[in-house]
């Protein structure tokens, strides 16, 4: 491969959503590489194949992981750096940008806007496992979150979550830093035949567009692959993503 058209850093979705999204991310990364982009699929500390325990991870160390990965990618080749963030990875990318990170384009796959809701959705796994045993609400997700906020750890579906991780995740909201000049693409998954777009995502796009930010809002019909029981893929999302990053990158 000669000079890449651009560098792409995949900031992955978080924990169980990553588990469901691995195949989709791998296929998209391959397609982007085939389109002439240099793609890095990073691991967050304690997730994926890299060393380290999740129990030792915090939101701050995860942001540092994004920084290290971006620096490494930049050291590999010249070219514009694009962040491709999936679901909760968008929160991390946003917090990284707020702490001085920089990029030439931000592509968000059905981004999480509020960390608290995303974390509660994970904690719900523990709550529901309990009510299936007892057929009543026992350890609720909000009770688990309260314990995390008070400094106790929690284990949910095999994920050991530290209070330090929960605190940063829960308080994170998707924002762009002041003066952010790079283009943003929000890729929203929609069910087939679903005419109603996600209201919160639409409002987010409208808010930033109104503030003068260039935001592309693209709706793609396909499965919510980060949420389904079986591993699902959306070829349409891969095609749309290749088109967006292809436009942003250098011509071949």
């Amino acid at each position: 491969m000669g000079q890449p058209r651009g560098l792409v850093l995949l900031v992955p979705p978080l924990l169980e959503e990553l588990n469901k999204s691995r195949r989709m991310c791998a296929l998209a990364a391959r397609a982007l590489a085939d389109a002439g982009l240099l793609v890095l699929r990073m691991d967050l500390h304690g997730c994926g194949d890299s060393s380290g325990d999740l129990a030792d991870a915090s939101w701050v160390t995860w942001i540092a992981d994004v920084e290290h990965s971006a620096a490494w990618l930049r050291s590999q080749a010249d070219g514009p750096l694009f962040i491709w963030a999936v679901r909760g990875g968008a929160l991390l990318a946003g917090d990284w940008l707020a702490r001085g990170g920089g990029c030439d384009g931000l592509m968000l796959w059905h981004p999480v806007l509020e960390g608290r809701r995303n974390l509660l959705q994970l904690l719900r796994l523990a709550a529901v496992a309990h009510w299936q045993d007892e057929h009543k609400a026992g350890a609720s997700a909000s009770a688990l979150l309260a314990r995390l906020e008070q400094g106790a750890g929690a284990e949910v579906a095999g994920y050991v979550i530290s209070p330090k991780l929960a605190k940063g995740w829960s308080s994170s909201r998707l924002e762009l830093p002041p003066g952010f000049a790079a283009p943003v693409a929000v890729m929203e998954m929609a069910a087939s035949g679903d005419v109603q777009p996600n209201r919160a995502l639409g409002e987010w796009v409208a808010r930033w567009s109104g503030a003068g930010q260039a935001v592309l809002h693209e709706k793609v019909t396909g499965p919510f692959f980060w949420q389904t029981q079986e591993i699902e893929v959306s070829p349409a999302l891969i095609d749309a993503s290749c088109a967006v990053l292809g436009r942003w990158g250098h011509a071949r």
């Binding site: 809701r117 959705q121 529901v128 009510w131 009543k136 609400a137 609720s140 919510f224 949420q227 029981q229």
Partner: protein, 82 residues
């Protein structure tokens, strides 16, 4: 919006039923009757309902009884959308 149709679509998508949910009626039992509906899947259904219907489910308002049948799930959503 046809809530029942939306619910069947969510069940079909999360549980990967390949269209089987289209034959479900309000009386179709879910929890304990549909083998694909384990606790992981229940959470998937709740999370997807939140995305599709734009509401947030507090854990004290939902339990196994909500997932008894298609009808109980539809009633829950109707209540949320008020």
């Amino acid at each position: 919006m046809d809530i029942t149709k939306e619910v069947l679509g969510i069940l079909d998508e999360v549980l990967s039923l390949n269209g089987r949910a289209a034959a479900f009626t309000h009386d179709t039992p879910l929890l304990g009757a549909v083998p694909e509906l384990d606790s992981m899947a229940v959470v998937g259904v709740i999370n997807l309902m939140e995305e599709r219907f734009d509401f947030f489910v507090e854990d004290d308002e939902i339990d196994g009884a909500t997932f008894a049948t298609v009808g109980t799930l539809v009633e829950f959503i109707q209540g949320k959308l008020g």
